[in-house]
Symmetry: C2
Subunit: 219 residues, 2 copies
């Protein structure tokens, strides 16, 4: 399968590397066609992938994974181009982190809006699925790092796209379908993005970003 | 022990009733001394408690549990009075829910401030501990409704107050100390209050407010 990974940071690296490892055709996109970070990643996977601009990657991918820093995601997706993205599933991973006020980060938007919604509003012809944004990138691609059952949350306006993403997250990374909770339409991204505020504090308390939560139903 | 419960809503009812059941001396406070809601609650516990104004209750309690609706908490605590609250532990339970824009609710403040912080700023001589605000009131007082290990989060500036609250939550309601996570100072209330945005959506998906999360550390 041809997969575009937008973003050359930790998240893009982790996801793109895992997808190459399981023999998918991957193109990593960044602002420039031959970015240092992109070339370094390409070397790390023995050249078994491609790099290019956001637009090159979006045109290449049958499915597009937006791993850009949330503060820059809209700008990156504009560079990717609405025409290249049209009709495709876009897994939107980044949270709109604001580190300008120090640590822990706050969000550049929340409460009555979310990055997931902004992306869907700006690209109405793209099948946006918010996913993976409540766990560290090492856990994203290797959920067995955390023992037992623990959960992912997805949301989006396109039910078929969410079913496909649920299947892909199982197939690519090993997430159990039963542990992928569909919250509903894209406005539910407010809930998963705002979880960041608790997540960063738990990271501090636990001393590792390798954790997750399990939702347990009572009586 | 003499305990003040501020607020006559669902949360105040659940907590005050449980404390009466285990033979504590409880006064429920509300805006007026003989509110209908207060009298109804007093009848429901067979008269084995007291009701009064917020100020009456705050003066009575050795420990004060603020179960008021978060949108009204500051006003209620002003009525309770800084003198009556001085030096006491205040368990601050409510989230700053904004239901004016429909459901699910948003928050009246978040991201770079929290209700827990506002209360601590306005009442610097009170030992504020934010707690219990990430679960439904039935789960607050009966954590065994949810099977297995699941977690509460507390925060506040006074370490001794947090240790005492941890002990009380175990003694009163049966929370395991190991499942009460101390996030740090009161600014961490941003994390637990913002969890509301995910909580309300999980409520919708699960079809019950009786659930909780367990944080699982990985490798």
């Amino acid at each position: 399968m041809k997969i575009a990974v937008l973003g050359t940071g930790m998240v893009g690296n982790a996801i793109a590397t895992k997808l190459v490892d399981i023999d998918h055709q991957v193109m990593m996109g960044s602002r420039t066609a031959y970015s240092d970070a992109g070339q370094e990643w390409l070397g790390s996977v023995g050249g078994k992938a491609r790099i290019g601009t956001f637009a090159d990657a979006a045109a290449f991918g049958e499915i597009v994974i937006d791993c850009t820093n949330g503060a820059n995601s809209l700008a990156a997706l504009r560079q990717a181009g609405a025409t290249n993205l049209r009709g495709k599933i876009l897994i939107q991973v980044g949270n709109p982190l604001d580190t300008s006020k120090g640590m822990p980060p706050s969000l550049t938007m929340c409460n009555t809006d979310s990055l997931g919604e902004q992306v869907q509003r700006e690209f109405p012809d793209v099948r946006v699925v918010k996913a993976l944004n409540t766990v560290n990138c090492d856990v994203m691609v290797e959920p067995s790092r955390v023992p037992g059952d623990h959960d992912l949350f997805i949301c989006g306006n396109d039910a078929a796209a969410k079913r496909e993403v649920t299947g892909r997250l199982s197939e690519w990374f090993g997430w159990k379908s039963a542990n992928i909770v569909d919250l509903g339409d894209i406005t539910n991204a407010r809930g998963t993005e705002m979880f960041l505020a608790l997540w960063v504090r738990l990271w501090g308390v636990l001393g590792t970003p390798h954790f997750n939560i399990h939702v347990i139903r009572g009586r």
